[in-house]
């Protein structure tokens, strides 16, 4: 920080603090002044994000051309086709797999996050970095690692056979279960981090008070720890569920293309079937559903944290009074 040289004693009248709003009010003078700041970025996002999204929206209401491409005739056919049992099956499949992945992530992520909050500050940092580290490595490489592990000749099968658990290798690769494992591996950190931040912000005194009053550890866990961490649980679940729904690479590489999820369907409409309008309709419905889910989660979390804060405050008041 370079301090401005204070040469001569300031002869100007001191600026009274009332003058502050003046300085702030000086700003709105320019809608024009805002332009160099807001203009280029907004234009860029408009052209490369909003125009593409609008075009996809438009395409979803048009017919496909006979040789691919788009014919500009209005139709609702693309949305009607979503109810074809074939595609409903794909949707159900995606929902099911994403739900299982989310549930498993919560099941192993919750104790992990809880354990991290109980470590010493130094180990807490190390554990958090260790959770994040795989997340920052290339996701194709991480997926590849599982292809290697789950392979018929891979180390898991070698270990199972060496231990005499099985005689023949179990084919694990190219199954829906393998897709679940791959997605879980990919998004587990997204569950652990919000859970950790929610759990670590809990007031430890509440648990201590309950224990002093004779509550068993399990009761403390059930009646204090879990209810107070619901916003974190919601955030974590949405953070895992949303990307798991649209991933098409893991089903293809680990699932061998046998497990078709919505993402694969959309990709195929654009690159293989050349039915862009149907692909556009699928992508649009998927995006809107996922955004609604994010919105719902933000609303719920906010309401819960506001409510909880009041309750926690009240509870604390009771404890300190007693």
């Amino acid at each position: 920080m370079t301090a401005p040289p204070t040469a001569a004693p300031d002869t100007r009248p001191p600026v009274p603090s009332v003058a502050r709003p003046h300085a702030v009010r000086r700003r709105p003078r320019g809608r024009l002044a805002a332009l160099p700041f807001l203009g280029p970025g907004s234009l860029y996002i408009a052209l490369l994000v909003f125009v593409p999204v609008l075009l996809i929206t438009a395409y979803s209401f048009f017919e496909r051309g006979r040789f691919g491409g788009v014919v500009f005739t209005f139709t609702l056919e693309n949305f009607a086709r979503l109810f074809d049992p074939l595609y409903l099956g794909v949707v159900a499949n995606s929902l099911g797999i994403a739900a299982v992945v989310t549930a498993l992530a919560l099941l192993i992520g919750y104790p992990t996050a809880l354990m991290i909050t109980r470590l010493s500050p130094k180990w807490r940092t190390i554990a958090l970095i260790a959770v994040l580290l795989p997340f920052w490595t290339n996701f194709l490489i991480r997926t590849y690692a599982w292809i290697l592990l789950l392979n018929n000749a891979g180390w898991i099968n070698q270990a199972l056979q060496a231990l005499g658990i099985t005689q023949e290798p179990i084919s694990m690769l190219y199954t829906p279960q393998a897709v679940v494992v791959g997605l879980l591996y990919m998004y587990l950190p997204l569950m652990i981090l919000p859970l950790y931040s929610s759990l670590s912000s809990q007031d430890a005194q509440l648990g201590e008070a309950a224990t002093n009053l004779g509550a068993s550890p399990f009761r403390v866990f059930r009646t204090i720890t879990v209810p107070l961490s619901i916003p974190g649980i919601l955030t974590g679940c949405v953070f895992v569920f949303v990307p798991a729904m649209s991933n098409f690479v893991i089903p293809e590489l680990i699932g061998g293309g046998k497990t078709v999820l919505i993402g694969n369907l959309i990709r195929d409409q654009f690159l293989k079937a050349r039915d862009w309008p149907f692909g556009a309709a699928l992508a649009l419905v998927l995006t809107i559903s996922l955004l609604l889910l994010l919105l719902l989660q933000a609303r719920l979390s906010k309401r819960l944290t506001d409510g909880k804060r009041e309750k926690a405050g009240a509870a604390k008041g009771v404890v300190t009074d007693a």
Binding site: V15, P36, S42, L107, I108, T112, Y144, A153, G154, T287
Partner: protein, 256 residues
Amino acid sequence: MRRSRFIRIPFWLTFVFLYLPIVVVVILSFNDSSNLFVWRGFTLDWYGELFRDQAILEGLVNTLIVATGSTAIATVLGTLLAVGIQRYTKGGLVRAFALTPALLPDLLLGIGILSVFSLLGFSLGLYSVLLSHAAFSIAFVTAIVLARLAHLDPSLEEASRDLGAGPVRTFARVTLPQLAPGIVAGALLSFTLSIDEFVIAFFTAAPTTPTLPIVIYSMVRFGVTPEINALATVLLFVSVIAVLGAQRLTKVTEAL
């Protein structure tokens, strides 16, 4: 505590789950055998092979071009946007607009940009990946710089204006230096995101200009080879260095 067993065991299982695949890849990258799964002794041959592989080198160069270019665009536009939002907007509308690209599924952005380019008759190439990556990176830079701006003292800018500095000079000499840690963090994040990005690149790259993740994708689809293990190990090593470096950097900038 009795119940700590119930959280201690899943805790360790989580780390086994997270690191087992990585350890396997690293070990097998030194395996002196073209049979992937049987250990035959130590070698560095696969690394030699890796650095002679034209496809990988080309992919790497493409990726670095895309990451550098998109980071430059995103950093400049994102910083300006953040400052503009902080100064000139009251409601959250412009902010929401600027942050949307980070919320949309990458799949939608990929097919959307592909559709626009094909409608306009533009051919795809490295530049289309670069422009697309900048589009979502802007949102991340904006978010990070905005967070930094929230902690700044506006009176410094006002003081600069009162002492006679013009708006441009105030921006360059007062605002920017204070924002520097946020801008650097935003640039680093957008560089990292771009290097790793696959889905959007998959739709917007020309077949002749694959980025490194696309090269890896085709290799993995073709089958597992010891060479991919070596590549994976190198990339893992780079990520570890980058994450630890960023950790240091945030500590340094927090100390400032």
